[in-house]
Symmetry: C2
Subunit: 355 residues, 2 copies
């Protein structure tokens, strides 16, 4: 595995200003690529200069959406090392997504080694700033040139890297959420548990409408009864009600977030159980009316923890934790980012250090 072919870029890009990184706008000098054909299976893992992909217009990805992706981050740690956060979980989920979309499985060890080598090559790109990081985007697309609705026989896997700024340039702060009761992101039996493009396309319209009305994210309800809480935008969601921390159970239409898993494990390590169960939006709003909805927050790789300050459902708007960042949101945010950045003890063994 130390024989990944590397073709170096002839000219390196100048690095963007650390204060205007944003999210997913800039990309590094190289990318990781691997091809799949029915004959050779996954083959020819290589690092090449970052550059355009050239595909036949009939490539299946342009028509039938056979594509999956992942999102994770590399951090510069306090001791000058580079670390990834639980990359094994991302690669496991990538294969789970592949399984749902009929894309051939990838060897997670081979891919992780490729990612490590790529990140190492691009280490100068990892931003130094507080809470900034190098976002890692592995994705697989069906490249076979044929207009048939079936599993493709050819695929391309790519990993691209993007330096990203702090999600909270002015410090962690709460967002406002709109409970979507018309459009549906995913349904049991569909693709909601997979990180695949169609789930995101289906969410854009509701997301844009919520933005228009001044809300920063949409809260998705289940597709069957439009009653149970699923996710918030591209995040899982947690609530503290009457002292108990609750998150929607993974019933098949919800993405199994790695931050979600980390929050549950971290709280457990502190002796605090998290209840995974169905939560109806009515129950949530009733708790708010009774004054026992103490906290709400989203979890995801991009923001880590995103406290929820207000929530609108039908004609009712509730304020949570007085519109402030709640105690647990703050504690979890500090702990997880602390572990990621190597500033806190990694007692759960989550850092994957690149030496």
């Amino acid at each position: 595995m130390n024989n990944i072919k590397v073709v170096k870029a002839e000219q390196l890009k100048s690095k963007p200003d650390a204060n205007s990184l944003g999210f997913g706008k800039y990309f590094t000098d190289h990318m990781l690529v691997m091809d799949y054909s029915a004959d050779q299976q996954w083959h020819d893992l290589r690092i090449v200069p970052y550059g355009p992909i050239s595909l036949d217009p009939s490539a299946m990805v342009f028509h039938y959406g056979q594509e999956v992706f992942e999102g994770m981050k590399a951090y510069k740690t306090a001791d000058g090392n580079i670390s990834l956060f639980r990359p094994d979980m991302n690669l496991k989920r990538l294969n789970a997504s592949c399984e749902r979309i009929s894309i051939p499985q990838v060897d997670p060890e081979v891919l992780l080694e490729g990612i490590v080598q790529l990140v190492n090559l691009e280490r100068e790109w990892i931003p130094e700033g507080e809470e900034s990081s190098l976002y890692i985007r592995p994705f697989i697309i069906a490249t076979e040139a044929c207009l048939g609705v079936r599993a493709a026989k050819e695929y391309k896997l790519l990993v691209i890297l993007s330096p990203v700024g702090s999600y909270y340039p002015e410090g962690i702060h709460p967002v406002s959420i709109y409970v979507e009761d018309q459009y549906v992101r995913a349904v049991r039996g569909g693709t909601g548990m997979a990180k695949t493009s169609g789930n995101y396309a289906s969410g854009i319209k509701a997301q844009e409408a919520a933005k228009q009305d001044g809300y920063s994210q949409v809260l998705w309800l289940d597709g069957v009864e439009k009653k149970y809480i699923e996710e918030v935008g591209s995040m899982n969601v947690f609530f503290k009600i009457g002292g108990e921390i609750i998150t929607p159970a993974l019933t098949g239409s919800i993405l199994a977030g790695i931050t979600r898993d980390s929050v549950i494990a971290l709280l457990a390590s502190w002796g605090i159980p998290v209840v995974e169960r169905q939560i109806s939006v009515e129950e949530l709003f009733e708790a708010a009316r009774q004054g026992v909805l103490e906290e709400a927050f989203g979890t995801g790789t991009a923001a880590v923890i995103s406290p929820i300050g207000t929530m609108k459902w039908e004609n009712e708007q509730i304020s949570i934790a007085g519109g402030q960042t709640g105690e647990w949101s703050k504690k979890l945010y500090d702990s997880i980012t602390g572990i990621q950045k190597g500033e806190r003890d990694d007692h759960l063994g989550w850092r994957h250090t690149i030496s």
Copy 2:
């Protein structure tokens, strides 16, 4: 509109053998392209040599599935002309799909004129054979290079053409269908009414499993109750029960097929009403048990009419019309293909002749 820029291919491909065309395997010498940017809106409609699309790896289409497509056909008619079949309907549906996926609307007249000019340029590619045709695939992809889950600010529209053989080389014949009760294609509030990639990706797994078990297509049930019949593979579906012709109503998760619409209109023109309503799979199987399920067929651009000979649901398998092509399947197939090919009177004004 007569000023579409045309860049001719320097070398023309040799045409494939008319007997091995299949579906969507060969493409003509040119394609139609148009670009969208926030500044210029849709612009630069042009015909260029068929060739690869080059996109940044972060192009949104590879990640968040903002893509829609259409499918229609051009025929060589008996009098030597070329005709399209109800292209206005396809372009209207393209815009409906765009609306759902937050892609900017396309001027249907401009696009139709472009398609007509492209088909005219490629007229030698239209196969002569009985029931063969030139398949037209317009599609739009989000090309903006940014990893943000939102509507893109840049898109590309392409139209590619593929000569396709008869769907039934040995004459129209019935298919076997598997009623899928685990996986779901689409749900109300989702994207089922749009021709967008995610709907197809979500269906591949069930489709492959059905193929494995010897069934040629999957019958999709509604995502909420898994009880009501929606579509068959990539086709709408009709049943004749006790003398009455019935098709699932368009409740939001079903694609509004143009062949479906044509079947309803044609039957109406013959004085035969079609009932559009919810049909449960239980009702259907009960009708079969009682001996009053007289016929079943799928409708779609590819096969036009696809008679259904057998259907499997849970542990029960039914045979329909003795496993033969039913009377109405045959009559509708002959009529619609006859109108398409210019062999029958176009009393509903569906042929769009390219002079």
